[in-house]
Symmetry: C2
Subunit: 344 residues, 2 copies
DNA sequence: CTGAAAGCGCTAACAC
DNA sequence: GTGTTAGCGCTTTCAG
């Protein structure tokens, strides 16, 4: 069944040695024009394709890069993956995508799996659960090519691509303040993640700037990033049943943001009349929501591209890359009805 | 940098031959208990991982399966991929995902790429553009393991996993009819795709059953499945500027459905007052739309699982599988406000 | 200009 | 029970 042609087959058919064929195929200058043409034409005719597995074994590299994200069914990550693929493909790399579903154990397993597949490098956005980063530290110390994006590891001076989370959250919070909301809650993913904390800091800074006190009861964490049933619902329930409930919510994670709306509605709140809403999300359909949703968008596609370019640079650099490269891009605040002043 | 242990390393360290180590590692019964224990312990200690590339070369299989879909940033496919991964993973297979972006050329390139990577099998949902299926026919004739899902190839008796498109469209159309709408348009992807035509047939059958005439001007195709800018907008524009415009639209593809809403709104139509809407989509947030969207949902996750199980069966079967396996599941109609009778 | 041979990591006949 | 060897497909010294 379906046996691809090998160099040996060509060699035999043409009465040459495998090395000659190999060299001809690779355009070595030390092969006669005649022979070269002969080989090339025959290879073309039989639709010869080099066996990448054999190549990998030989070259000790796989021309593939591993991607570790929480989920592909997530607007941000599916868009980022598009960016990753676009660059990887045109540079001749394969992309192997793995999902952690926010579990640290799956993350560790995925990394092992990818390493055992001899990927040439890793593109990683940490899972919500991850606290032990020693494996990454180890790989980093060995000079293994890795680029972190969006959810980066702390305490390691690695290559990374991030957005200005602080500014994104700051602007969004300030927009709510300018719209007249002063009681603003923060619905967040796990504080494990640096980006959660940075977004929180942006929120805090905006309130501070407007001389609004930060109330701890206005800050709710969903430690599984909204992946666990009821997590978001509980958080919202607690928030809205406070003696002095918030008038607005800023949600700082994709899944949380899109998850909020049906729950708030089910609880009987109108947006923004009863509670305004702004959130980090890359949903393509935020505009179609009821009401149209104010969002902080990340340039996911571009970030995927940048991270991949960075990684391929590191992989292909002749010498170990010691200084960590780091790129930060801006978020985009798109103001829609959900964070507008409530019409009275 | 980061040199994994090999069998040779172990053999040298322990003063054994590589074959002994290999056998011990694979639990061969002809190895002394002592030696076996020694090897296993040492392997454990140095965290030995067999090199899958060498294995692939040896066994002429890669323990990986290739996936060809139009996009991961698509609700249906990202969910299906979750299903695919869940099964593949637990069966020890890798998943390599490639995207066609609805281009036949990219599809062909992806298939070649995956074949050249020696994937053990292929999971395919055709691109919208695909009309030439000769390559698939060829692979099929060679007995190469393939399973098609959702968007299947015709004229080839292959393994496949589909939904009952006819019934899904029929039920949705009938619900619109029961809600009092009689002028119902069909917004569809390319008729290249069998599922587009099946869904169209379901729509037709429902109208027929209710003695409603099928108007050709009520049927609009987006030949790139909504991937090309302005495609959906044009279709809707044409539809709504008919002398006798439709009162309802059934959209038969994920991207089209979610794409419709902002466009209709921008054109100044209220849903469902001016035009009702129902559509095939697996969006998780259809409920949050304005208005909440009536959807025909496909069990994407399950379909991904089923297709993968089927594929792995074929791959691992001792003898070529000649009779084509075929599974069909039901869609689920979730009725929400967008297809309700318009309140007058 | 071309061929022979070694080697990437692993397994499996085939010795002994 | 364990070692030797060949071979998976390819590249690359080293010879000639």
């Amino acid at each position: 069944m379906f046996k691809p042609y090998t160099i040996k087959d060509i060699a035999k058919a043409l009465g040459l040695s495998t090395s000659t064929v190999s060299r001809a195929l690779n355009g070595s200058y030390e092969i006669g024009t005649e022979t070269k043409k002969l080989v090339l034409e025959y290879a073309e005719k039989v639709n010869y394709r080099p066996n990448p597995i054999a190549l990998s074994l030989k070259e000790q590299r796989s021309r593939s890069i591993g991607v570790v994200v929480c989920e592909v069914a997530n607007n941000y990550f599916s868009q980022a993956i598009n960016g990753i693929e676009s660059i990887a493909y045109s540079s001749g790399y394969h992309v192997i995508i793995t999902q952690t579903h926010e579990s640290a154990a799956r993350e560790a397993a995925n990394v092992q799996h990818l390493l055992s597949r001899h990927v040439d490098g890793l593109l990683i956005a940490l899972s919500a659960e991850t606290t032990d980063t020693s494996e990454f530290k180890f790989l980093h110390s060995k000079g293994f090519p890795m680029v972190f994006f969006d959810r980066i590891v702390e305490n390691i001076d690695t290559h990374k691509v991030t957005v200005d989370n602080f500014k994104g959250a700051f602007e969004a919070t300030e927009q709510l303040l300018n719209a007249g909301y002063t009681k603003i809650a923060n619905l967040a993913s796990t504080p494990n993640l640096l980006n959660t904390r940075e977004r929180f800091d942006g929120y805090k800074a905006a309130l501070l700037k407007h001389n609004i006190q930060i109330l701890p009861e206005y800050v709710k964490y969903c430690h599984h990033g909204g992946m666990v049933a009821g997590e978001v619902e509980n958080a919202l329930q607690e928030l809205m049943s406070l003696p002095d409930p918030p008038q607005a919510i800023i949600s700082t994670n994709d899944r949380l943001t899109t998850g909020c709306i049906p729950i708030l509605k089910k609880m009987g709140y109108r947006i923004p009349e009863d509670v305004a809403l702004t959130g980090f999300t890359n949903s393509e359909v935020a505009e179609s929501f009821a009401p149209p949703l104010t969002v902080i968008r990340q340039p996911a596609f571009t970030m995927g591209q940048m991270a991949t370019e960075m990684l391929i640079n590191v992989i292909e650099s002749k010498y170990p890359v010691y200084e960590a490269m780091s790129t930060q891009v801006d978020t985009e605040l798109i103001v829609r009805q959900s964070s507008m002043p409530a019409k009275i």
